[in-house]
Symmetry: C2
């Protein structure tokens, strides 16, 4: 690779208006981290916030913290901050449970509202665990079914039987992004509800859930939101639907007058009825600093940088990696792309291992042949992208991947 490019790239980083945000994260020396789409990096302020909730709130104020530090409303307060990232007014988002559990709740609510419509429609390309949740829910309930179609057949399949269409906004393998506004409108025209999984878009792509009249959304807190491993997920329910919906899992945090401990459940008003059990306070508190950084950086600026970076990366692929046998598994059009770029190769799994073990580059691998290169514009630099591609070239030229197995280790 020409030296010229490296210098040019350094000048881009210097001119980057978001450059200072990188200093807000703990990033280990020498590691090229391109997996913020799987586990976001640690904001420096998070360690301090955790010390505070552990020492001062739990340790010192003990049970009083539920009131003194308003723990009781924490899932809703964090939800309202996430709402800003989603383009949603307050009172429509809570942070709680996992993405899968939240999806279960909202599918149930949606089907409950669907009247005689009994189909949950999704695409075969959807994140498998989302499909598992829908399969399991359909099997449990008996009176609805999951219909799976290829992406190309999706629009035609939204018919009078469909209660809810559930899709992931940005595809976890390819980074391909749906047109949320258009598809949601189409669902509504055909009498169906729209439920979006925003796990690969929240924090990376500007979202407009209110403007786009989205009915339901879920998403995870540990990718571009930088909320920490297994951070509580979020769910969004459009305000005008909330009070006609039932959460299938009735717990005391969703109950009206939670501490009255009455014998019969009466759902709380608003989105709070989608809470269930006691919130995992430590994990919940760890989400906040990352959200604040994203809001401070601004989603439009982050998106602009992300597009420049993925475009640059695709340019490098074209010049340097395509000749080495790598395919581009992500869309060329940045309007149809999230914030990661997938490149394919027949030896992708072995190359991925060599990058991690030999090169200190951390992408990740997704079956069958995707090496995902995640851009987290709040901390990823242009120089890192340049260097990562340089190291990929070295893995190929020195055949460093050959000593790794093409068999995936089994995780049990």
């Amino acid at each position: 690779m020409p030296e010229l490019t490296r210098e040019e790239v350094a000048s881009w980083d210097e001119a980057d208006p978001l450059r200072s945000f990188r200093d807000e994260f703990e990033l280990p020396d020498g590691v090229l981290y391109l997996d913020g789409n799987s586990l976001g990096a640690l904001p420096k302020k998070t360690a301090a916030r955790l010390r505070q909730i552990v020492t001062e709130e739990w340790g010192r104020d003990l049970i009083r913290s539920w009131n003194a530090h308003d723990w009781i409303r924490y899932p809703r307060r964090v939800g309202d901050r996430i709402a800003k990232i989603l383009g949603a007014a307050p009172g429509q988002v809570v942070a709680a449970d996992s993405t899968s559990v939240n999806l279960f709740k909202l599918l149930s609510a949606a089907v409950g509202l669907g009247g005689s419509r009994t189909v949950i429609l999704s695409e075969e390309e959807n994140f498998p665990t989302d499909l598992y949740v829908a399969q399991g829910f359909s099997g449990l309930l008996g009176r609805c079914r999951l219909q799976l179609v290829p992406r190309t057949a999706l629009v035609a399949a939204i018919d009078d039987d469909v209660a809810v269409v559930t899709l992931t906004h940005v595809d976890f393998r390819t980074g391909e992004m749906h047109d949320m506004r258009a598809l949601t409108r189409l669902c509504h025209e055909r009498g169906a509800l729209a439920l979006w999984d925003l796990s690969h878009s929240a924090g990376a792509v500007p979202l407009h859930l209110d403007r786009d009249e989205v009915d339901f959304a879920v998403g995870c807190g540990y990718k571009y939101l930088n909320g920490g491993p297994g951070a509580p997920a979020f769910l969004y329910v459009r305000r005008d639907l909330q009070d006609s919906l039932l959460n299938p899992i009735w717990g005391w945090f969703g109950q009206k007058g939670q501490f009255d401990l009455k014998l019969d459940y009466e759902p709380n008003a608003g989105v709070a009825r989608f809470l269930v059990g006691t919130p995992a306070m430590l994990s919940l508190a760890a989400i906040e600093p990352g959200i604040d950084l994203l809001l401070e950086a601004g989603l439009d600026r982050l998106r602009a940088k992300s597009v420049r970076q993925t475009e640059y990366l695709i340019g490098l692929w074209e010049a340097l990696l395509q000749p080495l046998g790598f395919s581009l598994n992500s869309p060329r059009d940045p309007e149809r792309r999230g914030s990661h770029v997938s490149i394919g190769h027949p030896d992708a799994l072995r190359i991925d291992q060599a990058l991690i073990e030999e090169m200190n580059v951390l992408p990740d691998f997704r079956y069958p042949d995707n090496i995902r290169l995640g851009i987290a514009p709040i901390y990823t630099s242009f120089a890192e992208i340049h260097e990562a591609v340089t190291r990929i070239c070295r893995v190929m030229s020195e055949r460093l991947y050959e000593k790794y197995s093409a068999e995936r280790p089994e995780v049990t």
Copy 2:
């Protein structure tokens, strides 16, 4: 109160074989903490463990931690340690989600196994949120129903329609403890399954789930386990039932070959199929130090101390509080009692507030008239019990409660 007693009490603490464990906890100066049955205190090692997982695992090793630090099996590893507290062999417990979500999963599994039996049986005295979960599940499914009876009618109600009996082992108001072994046996004799909520017993009362042939159990991590606010809950499924049961919420942590990301769900072998989404790693890591301390102290020694302490407290009630109009809402027989003592009073709510605000005593209040005095034998001292009763007497003699409202503040 006679000085003699105070001295005598101090000598009990000095002779207490578990005395050193108190130093393992951060307890704020001057506060008499009698609410470990609601939120356990902070083990000193927990702050260090959290620093480690935040800085070294999340911050430094990033995505590699799923393998390098075996995060992937963490819910099962923590589960196996909790199992020791529950009297259960490994491979039957996972730490995940909330108690309510876990109860939902196990009720569904139990009803699925129940054949033509369609009743979920519980008692009106059960913790309301457990009843909410059962109500919600029954309403969702349609083909089963919750039958609620008073405790006195429970045994007679276990008939041929009952698929599962779900009870809380130690009553959250009174501390009354069921005979788990006898009731489980009775359920089995009548063809029903037994599901126990151990939230108020795990860590305070020796449990023998395997010996007692319990089918299912759930419980929370933040009371006597000292796992931190909203710590992940646990669930237990008897080994020989596991592979014939279905978790209703199908997520990738319950899937066989999780990272194969196949289109169709196939439940993992064993208790792992009751996992759902990505575990809340920070909250999960915070559970471990508290569990280790309990195991080191030994459940039998903890129970022996707890019984001595609740007996002592009831003795003080009899001598000093009963004359002031306090009732004893807990059983007199220690064999039928958990580790908290409830005292009642017509002004209980106001007295509770005065104790917190004026006296630095932290019990808690449960409707309608229970002041719960929680004994966490791993850190509660005899001197604290003595001092707490002294302060209750002072609240009464100086009528310090009169300025507080008898109206509960509404939590929304």
